[in-house]
């Protein structure tokens, strides 16, 4: 029973971080109607910038953390300008594949530039992480898991507030509904999309820092690895549903954690993608599918 609860807590904490990644993908997909693969690299960029700023530039954490987040947002903006914006010009028709492929190319470029500069092996996380565990009766809690869950909870509540209550959220929902009508009401689709990408990048950056802190490692390839999980979560949750992404993320995390705990760690990838195919068989539009949306012309 203790083992079960530990696995459950571990699964929920890792699942929460998957959910953050997936939420970013869902936001960008909902508002810009583009599947921005390069978003996955924000997961890798933030801990890497943290690594550079703390190890090389010797900055204190209070300065390095906001700067790392800011730099990842900057890179995301750059990718947006180079790879996605050219296809968003209203009236210019381009196949739905083109922005997908460019963002994929940008993602590949970022990943391999970092791999050649910093080597393809993994580095330790730059900060000291509390290693001793908390005990509650016979149950052992890893503090990092609890911190991670708290961070994820705060980020999710913040996102829910932004999307549902704030002015930014209203314009985001308006652009997602119809960019032309939104423009006629004085809402700039471009600015809204940029804001959406910034918010999504912040979520991915936080989850990336949590990932690398939990595993005490960062590598250039972690972006694609976790980004892929985020995409799987997005599909399981039903592509354009924010609550769906959260539920699916937690589900994937828990399933994986049980698979690793009761079976073997080498099956983690197989289990998560197996789950995707099983769910696709029975609910082809995902768990929380609203009316499926076709690509806008």
């Amino acid at each position: 029973m203790e083992f079960f609860i530990q696995l459950l807590v571990g699964g929920l904490s890792i699942g929460g971080t998957y959910a953050l990644v997936a939420l970013g993908f869902v936001l960008i997909f909902g508002v810009a109607n583009v599947l921005n693969i390069a978003h996955a690299q924000s997961i890798m960029l933030a801990p890497f910038f943290l690594f550079i700023l703390i190890e090389q530039a010797k900055l204190p954490l209070s300065l390095a953390a906001p700067l790392a987040l800011f730099m990842s947002v900057l890179i995301a903006m750059f990718v947006y300008y180079a790879a996605i914006r050219p296809f968003l010009i209203i009236g210019k028709r381009s196949g739905y594949l083109a922005p997908f492929i460019t963002s994929f190319g940008a993602s590949l470029f970022i990943e391999n530039i970092f791999a050649t500069i910093f080597g393809s092996s993994s580095h330790p996380f730059p900060l000291e992480i509390q290693r001793e565990v908390w005990r509650l009766g016979n149950i052992i809690f890893v503090p990092m898991q609890i911190y991670s869950m708290v961070c994820v909870f705060i980020a999710t509540v913040f996102l829910a507030w932004v999307v549902n209550r704030s002015a930014i959220g209203r314009s985001m929902r308006a652009v997602a509904e119809n960019p032309i009508v939104a423009a006629s009401q004085g809402i700039s689709a471009r600015i809204t999309i940029m804001l959406t990408i910034s918010i999504a990048t912040l979520l991915a950056a936080i989850s990336g820092i949590l990932f690398s802190a939990a595993n005490n490692e960062l590598s250039a390839f972690m972006g694609m690895e976790y980004g892929l999980k985020g995409l799987v979560v997005m599909i399981i949750g039903g592509v354009n549903s924010l609550p769906g992404a959260v539920v699916a993320g937690l589900m994937l995390g828990v399933t994986e954690s049980f698979a690793v705990g009761y079976l073997s760690s080498s099956y983690s990838m197989v289990i998560s993608f197996g789950l995707l195919f099983v769910i696709l068989l029975f609910r082809p539009n995902g768990l929380f599918a609203s009316a499926s949306r076709e690509a806008r012309p």
């Binding site: 083109a98 460019t102 470029f109 995707l276 696709l280």
Partner: protein
Amino acid sequence: MNGFYESIAIPVLIDAIAVLGLYVIASSGRLSIGHAAFFGVGCYTSALLSTQLLMPYWASILVGALSAGSFGLIFGLVAERLSHWFFAIATLAFSVMLTGIVSSVEIFGGATGIYGIPISVGLSETLFSTIFVLILVYFIDRSSFGRSMRAVRDSEIAAEAVGINPAFAHIGSFVIGTSIAGLAGGLWAHYLGVIKPVDMSLDRSLFFLIYLAVGGMEHWAGALLGTFTLGLLPEVIRFSREYRLAFFGLLLAGFMVLRPSGLVSRELINWTSKIAKKIWA
């Protein structure tokens, strides 16, 4: 010296076969980022048949292609409901899952792969297969099925309105494309004599995708041109392997922004055929 040229030409030709398969998939508007998984199915099936059952190499390569095609059929049926992008992500997920299974199951040799496959594919066999696949793709393109694939790519609703079943076109093209990838995989296994899970990894899928996207998805010549230029150029100018993927990523993004149709576009084909007719007449 002859062996050196062969060692460059054969892998590029095998890649060209697989990219032609990807071209067939792309003709129906689908994109596969896990094409190497089906390449890998062909690799492993043919390798196991040759080493365990001692089948002749051509038979095992053919069975490998068929098994890759049947994997493609199962995948295509399951993933049919997904719309374009998510289909691509599902192929990616499928390939990662398949690589994971292959590298952890005993009969596939784990991470070390399968050794001692009879090396029976040389330049002539590869060239023959390339020409065979090229003719096949050419006739598929010209057939009514090829037209229905392109109709579905351009507009599923319009295609349905004239009585084309989009699901049939999608799944059919996926099965054909994955079978061709399996054929390429079988050739690869019998050319190298040894296969590892790396052979079906994501990197290879990415290379296939980049070759096709840069070459152009609108005509089979694009698949060939993309593979030959991007496959041969780095070998010829001795471009560093380290930077190759980063450079290819940049190339992929740049090409899609500046010339979305790739090197060989419909207009280019129409233009050249017009010029050719003028010279002929």
